[in-house]
């Protein structure tokens, strides 16, 4: 738990029967009307979309923003002197401002647009990492990372003869913070961990870890792919050095992400990709690189994606981040309680601080079979290893089913999930 917004809502272990209380003043039925896809049928049934940790659906405001861009504003940015180019540039840079305010970055220069969380992490590994990590150094990650916060560091460590260390988790799926702190020593150059786990929902105490890492002289990168959709993020309050996240997990388009970095660090880092936009002047003898943030944005960016991403952030801000968090927490408690009624169902990941993500296994039925049968009932969940194979090994399961809730989900949809799981049991028993 990293900030007041979420810590005010009761934890999963709260003995109070708050699971039976609806959250007032959050009109989920009205909100659902903003998402046209939620009205469609799949396989003859109304869609129940519970795969929000994979990607979220998009509100009409985001869809409209893309249409508006291509019908009224389309041009390349930072290039032309003509009207449309200026307009596109203004919209693109305004979006950067929207992101800056959303994550409370100190300066607009600290917001770099990328293709997504994965590219943001790779940028840090390739640019900062190659310049600052050497033989014998260590990168410290945790046992609940997904592949995109494992593999870039493995690649860096292999190249630099550095070592990747893994801080363990307990059986509830919570990071053992004392162990992580014990593993901090002077050779640890960077701690990279997620804000919230996509596979188990665990919310990490990132602020505490940042403080411990900084006391040790280590930098901290937070993989916020699941943090931004579920909590209020204040990068200055967290004190992190890098924060990476994706647009599409927070109701914006795919193909857009953000790397936040502290200005002093970004300034020192060498450019990663070369090309247009990231240069000031080019001759065959010498190229002068552009200033932040453009130094890290080579080539024509995903302009319509960026402006529609800003529309998504405006949309969720309009609903209220605290209200969304409270609604999702209600769904987490309610769905957890309903799922626990199913005999033979075991929830993997019982962290006290959890985002609305529930991983589970059903005795005698492989998750892949669960996924197929649920799909026939119109219920979309993720089944598999959730791009977190080492984590699956830690919990001794080949895969899990995962229901992940978003701002538009309802208790009735949690009920539909439970009903469909009874169908699974019917087929297999």
């Amino acid at each position: 738990m990293t900030n007041a917004t979420v810590s005010e809502v009761p934890s999963v272990l709260d003995p109070e029967p708050s699971a039976r209380r609806e959250v007032p003043s959050y009109d989920v039925e009205r909100i659902r009307k903003d998402f046209p896809i939620l009205a469609r049928d799949v396989r003859g049934r109304r869609l129940v979309y519970l795969d929000n940790a994979a990607t979220t659906q998009k509100p009409q405001a985001v869809i409209d923003r893309i249409i508006q861009y291509y019908t009224q504003e389309n041009s390349n940015v930072h290039r032309g002197v003509h009207y449309l180019s200026e307009l596109a540039t203004i919209q693109y840079e305004n979006a950067r401002g929207t992101v800056q305010r959303f994550i409370h970055a100190r300066d607009i220069k600290e917001v770099i647009f990328t293709r997504g969380t994965t590219e943001s992490i790779n940028l840090v590994a390739q640019s900062w990492g190659r310049a600052n990590v050497g033989e014998g150094d260590e990168i410290l990650i945790t046992a609940i990372e997904h592949h995109s916060n494992i593999v870039p560091w493995q690649m860096l460590c292999a190249e630099k003869k550095a070592t990747l260390r893994i801080a363990p988790v307990n059986d509830a799926g919570e990071l053992i913070v004392e162990e992580l702190v014990r593993m901090l020593h002077p050779r640890v150059k960077l701690v990279a961990l997620n804000h919230a786990s996509n596979a188990l929902g665990t919310i990490n105490p990132v602020k505490r870890i940042v403080a411990a890492a900084h006391a040790n002289g280590s930098l901290v990168l937070i993989d916020g792919a699941q943090g931004v959709p579920h909590t209020t993020v204040d990068v200055q309050d967290l004190g992190c050095d890098f924060y990476a996240f994706s647009s599409h997990k927070v109701y914006g388009p795919t193909g857009v992400g953000v790397l936040y970095g502290r200005e002093a660090l970004l300034d020192e880092m060498p450019p990663w990709q070369g090309g247009g936009d990231m240069i000031l002047s080019v001759s065959y003898e010498k190229t002068t690189y552009n200033a932040l943030p453009y130094k890290f944005e080579a080539g024509t960016p995903n302009i319509e994606g960026v402006v529609a991403f800003a529309a998504a952030l405006d949309y969720v801000k309009g609903l209220g981040l605290e209200a969304i968090a409270a609604h999702e927490h209600d769904l987490l408690l309610y769905a957890t309680a309903r799922l626990e009624e199913i005999q033979g169902l075991r929830i993997i990941g019982r962290a006290a601080e959890k985002a609305a993500v529930i991983s589970f296994v059903l005795e005698g039925v492989h998750p892949h079979d669960i996924g197929t049968i649920l799909d026939q009932e119109g219920v979309a969940i993720r089944t598999g290893h959730h791009c977190a194979q080492p984590l699956m090994m830690r919990f001794n399961v080949p895969a899990t089913g995962r229901a992940s809730f978003g701002l538009y989900n309802t208790r009735a949809e949690a009920d539909a999930l439970v009903g469909a799981l009874h169908k699974v049991i019917e087929v297999f028993r």
């Binding site: 079979d369 026939q376 080949p398 169908k423």
Partner: protein, 149 residues
């Protein structure tokens, strides 16, 4: 529910629960691992090949009902078959689960017919064919890992 019953036919549920030839084979002549990284299904196929004939066939591993039943039915079907017959059945089975079953007779299919429902579930074709792809590699005498991705 009808499509589901087509997919999860009794034969499949039975072989999933009680897989046949589900054990290691220390004296196997060929042994290959098969892996589907998408869902984590993972099997090892053991073969005892003598003079181009499959004398013994067993498997170990874990995965979904479709993949496990497929490995089990395959092991029961191919015991005693020649390499050529096994390869022909591979093609037959592949046609069946991808919806190209034209010209296949019930006699040819035998127990394999239980997998006809898979063709309605394109996402599950790889589950049904994992063991077969692994077998094919074992028959060819390869011993590297097979992946369906």
């Amino acid at each position: 529910m009808s499509d589901l019953r087509e997919l999860y036919q009794q034969v499949i549920l039975d072989h999933n629960k009680n897989p046949r030839n589900f054990h290691e084979m220390p004296d196997a002549t060929n042994r290959v691992d098969g892996y589907n990284p998408l869902c984590g299904d993972h099997y090892t196929i053991f073969l005892k090949l003598e003079d181009g004939t499959i004398r013994e066939l067993s498997f170990t591993g874990s995965g979904c009902a479709i993949s496990k039943a497929s490995a089990s039915v395959m092991s029961a079907t191919l015991k005693g078959k020649s390499k050529e017959e096994a390869e022909r059945l591979f093609d037959t089975f592949h046609g069946l689960v991808t919806g190209d079953s034209s010209g296949l007779s019930a006699a040819e299919l035998g127990r394999l017919a239980a997998f006809s429902g898979v063709s309605e579930f394109p996402a599950r074709v790889k589950c049904a064919t994992l063991a077969w792809h692994t077998l094919k590699s074992a028959l060819d005498g390869k011993d590297e890992k097979v992946s369906t991705e």
